[in-house]
């Protein structure tokens, strides 16, 4: 009796994994694929090794041993770039799921999975980079397990939202995992949860994308008046839309080349159409953002500050990295020019980095005698986080049906629904 049961179990597992036993399946999954000696690997590997050494030093000797942070500037590159900018770029996940699952724009369905995966990994790694910046990371569970709820803190809200949104994105992505291991029943259950996860995820994103800006509301005298306003949360939210979409355009253009073999002929062909649609949305949101920035500026009454080095820098950001890419997106959409769309996305991304760093690093304590500038070790650790994420991303994309089409049984299942 017992033996029969076991046999049954084996039979089920074998079927679920496309006839492969579990261990062999796992061994197959871990095995590296593709050539190892690529330029990307050769550049990223030494940096990652160095980065891990620096991280070890940071945990032994303290944050001050590897960073240039001071008592006046307690948040530097790791927060300003890794977390604040990284999360803005991960905004593509909530925008694309909104378009596909809420607005029913099926055209964008083929990029949902890769965008959600990207967003999920971005949250795991860039928000995970937060742990490196915490002086007492062993207490990180305190605001979660409930022995000390600082409910009046914006950071409390952001921390909870990061956690919940990661779970929501994992649910959104889970049907892909089910397809990979070949579990039809799990896929059916998990894909039934997608809409709920999407709605929850968009709500969370609205709040914590703006919440990242709200973190700086109390630093009212510390941030340069051209970048500080009570509207930071709204500006952060609106800019996360085009930041995320520019990232989708950027990542998509690279994936189309690098993972060429994964992508079906049909999805290759539809990609240009997707880029056109996205460039239209980017034009509109960039315009809304620019309009809000102008309103904020007029409200702030800082005309005199424009004629100063920081003022020129502000104008550079507004004209060169908001108006210019807006015009480029508009023009490339009208002319159907794919190259210009990609160029506009790139400029937009640089603009978002500049904007987030201006609020968090450049404009923060701009009047201090000694300015904070990140140490080379902070930069190496930032690159390490980035590279590890790309490695994991590549590992997943080459194995799971992220870019390539789902297995044939999925179509049967969804047509039955």
């Amino acid at each position: 009796m017992k033996k029969k049961n076991m046999n049954n179990q084996n039979a089920v597992l074998a079927k679920d994994n496309d006839g492969m036993p579990v261990l062999k399946f796992l061994a197959e999954a871990i095995k590296p694929k593709g050539t190892f000696f690529t330029p990307f690997n050769m550049i990223s590997l030494p940096i990652m090794v160095l980065g891990f050494v620096i991280i070890v030093i940071r945990f032994i000797k303290g944050i001050g041993a590897v960073t240039n942070l001071t008592q006046e500037v307690p948040w530097g590159l790791w927060i300003g770039f890794d977390v604040v900018t990284g999360v803005a770029f991960a905004g593509g996940a909530y925008v694309i799921t909104f378009m596909v699952y809420i607005l029913n724009m099926k055209k964008y369905h083929s990029i949902v999975r890769v965008t959600v995966l990207n967003g999920f990994l971005a949250y795991v790694f860039y928000a995970g980079a937060l742990l490196l910046d915490l002086g007492r990371p062993w207490n990180v569970i305190n605001p979660i397990i409930g022995n000390s709820f600082g409910v009046s803190s914006i950071l409390f809200l952001v921390a909870w939202h990061f956690l919940l949104y990661m779970i929501a994105m994992l649910i959104e992505f889970s049907p892909t995992i089910a397809e990979w291991i070949g579990n039809q029943r799990a896929r059916k259950i998990l894909s039934g949860m997608t809409l709920a996860a999407v709605i929850f995820g968009i709500t969370l994103s609205t709040l914590h994308q703006s919440g990242l800006g709200a973190l700086y509301l109390m630093a009212s005298e510390k941030i340069h008046p051209l970048w500080y306003s009570e509207f930071i949360p709204i500006l952060f939210f609106v800019s996360s839309i085009f930041a995320g979409l520019s990232m989708v355009i950027f990542e998509g253009s690279i994936s189309q080349k690098v993972f060429d073999s994964q992508i079906s002929e049909k999805n290759h062909r539809s990609h240009d159409g997707i880029l056109h649609g996205l460039s239209k949305i980017c034009t509109v949101t960039l315009f809304i953002y620019f309009f809000l920035q102008v309103l904020t500026f007029v409200h702030g009454k800082h005309w005199d500050l424009l004629n100063s080095p920081m003022g020129y820098w502000y104008l550079t950001e507004m004209i060169g990295f908001v108006l210019l890419p807006m015009g480029l997106f508009f023009y490339s959409y009208r002319k159907q020019n794919i190259f210009l769309i990609k160029l506009a996305a790139l400029i937009t991304m640089i603009g978002v980095i500049i904007n987030r760093l201006n609020v968090t690093v450049v404009g923060f304590r701009w009047d201090a005698a000694v300015h904070y500038f990140p140490s080379w070790m902070e930069i190496v650790v930032t690159l390490t986080v980035l590279f590890v994420e790309i490695w994991i991303f590549r590992w997943i994309v080459t194995r799971l049906p992220v870019l390539r089409d789902s297995p044939s049984w999925v179509k049967k299942q969804s047509s039955k629904l």
């Binding site: 008592q71 699952y101 099926k106 007492r136 022995n147 950071l155 709605i199 009212s220 809000l292």
Partner: protein, 289 residues
């Protein structure tokens, strides 16, 4: 579809803005005067700059003994750091040399308290703002938020602490005076309830208007602070942060926090509504799967 999305985005923007500003008006002005907080009045006309407070503070809190040659020099600002919670500075002013003590001001509604996501930094009912290492995760958001740059962080430790004056909380609940107040030979420091201290400060200004500049720093700054200052000269001359707002700092985030529940209620309903209404809309369908 195009028009719909644009409309939607503008509605979204408007809703956001109105929620944001609407809630801000609701945010009631609440000034923590119901409780009698303890505080300290520092009278810089009496301080002789002996640094006695620095030594007893170091002793009381197990910090390194101040170096004997580390004395206040006008023109150079000494700052509190992870090894000293209070410092005395001297300023060359229109009325000669004036000493100023620097430490945590123990705001009535502290920015650090409301910034802390683990309640590690908290305003006690007695008045001192204290730090609890068992809760703190070292995010340093208190340092970002504090308008006076008070909390300091041990950057060179694998088990770093946030260091700041706690108004000798342990002594205060035992009924003793804070160490610096007890040690001050010039009676420049007075401990008491905030109400008594403000009355006393006003009395001193009225009794000797020639000596004092007519302002108590901390009476309204940042919504009122536990440490109060009297000075012979305008506070700008003594390196005080005079751009600090008079409203409590946590109010800056109240509007945002109040909008959270409304978004949580409205958003899912709106999103589900849109989803249902465009579910069978196949206008943009280009066959997929």
């Amino acid at each position: 579809m195009n028009i719909n999305r644009r409309n939607f985005l503008s509605v979204l923007g408007l809703t956001g803005v109105s929620l944001y500003t609407g809630e801000k008006l609701v945010a009631a002005q609440k000034i923590g005067n119901e409780t009698e907080f303890y505080g300290v009045l520092y009278d810089s006309t009496r301080c002789v700059g002996c640094q006695g407070c620095e030594s007893v503070c170091a002793e009381e809190h197990g910090l390194p003994e101040p170096a004997p040659d580390d004395v206040p020099v006008s023109g150079a600002v000494r700052k509190a750091n992870e090894n000293r919670r209070t410092v005395i500075n001297v300023y060359n002013t229109s009325k000669g040399e004036v000493y100023v003590k620097n430490q945590c001001l123990h705001c009535n509604q502290p920015a650090c308290d409301s910034a802390c996501l683990t309640r590690a930094m908290s305003k006690t009912k007695e008045g001192p703002v204290i730090w609890n290492g068992e809760k703190c995760m070292g995010c340093r958001y208190c340092m970002v938020s504090c308008p006076f740059d008070v909390p300091k962080f041990e950057y060179h430790s694998s088990n770093p602490k946030i260091v700041k004056c706690n108004m000798c909380y342990d002594r205060v609940i035992e009924g003793k005076l804070p160490a610096c107040v007890e040690a001050c030979p010039a009676e420049a420091l007075t401990f008491g309830t905030r109400r008594e201290l403000i009355a006393e400060a006003h009395r001193r200004i009225i009794n000797d208007p020639g000596l004092y500049y007519n302002k108590i720093y901390g009476e309204s700054e940042a919504g009122g602070t536990g440490f109060l200052y009297l000075s012979p000269v305008p506070f700008e001359e003594l390196g005080f942060n005079t751009t600090v707002q008079n409203r409590p700092y946590p109010e800056l985030t109240k509007g945002f926090l109040y909008s959270v529940p409304s978004i949580f209620v409205l958003w899912p309903a709106v999103l589900l509504g849109i989803h249902k209404s465009v579910k069978n809309n196949n206008l943009e369908e280009e066959e997929y799967e």
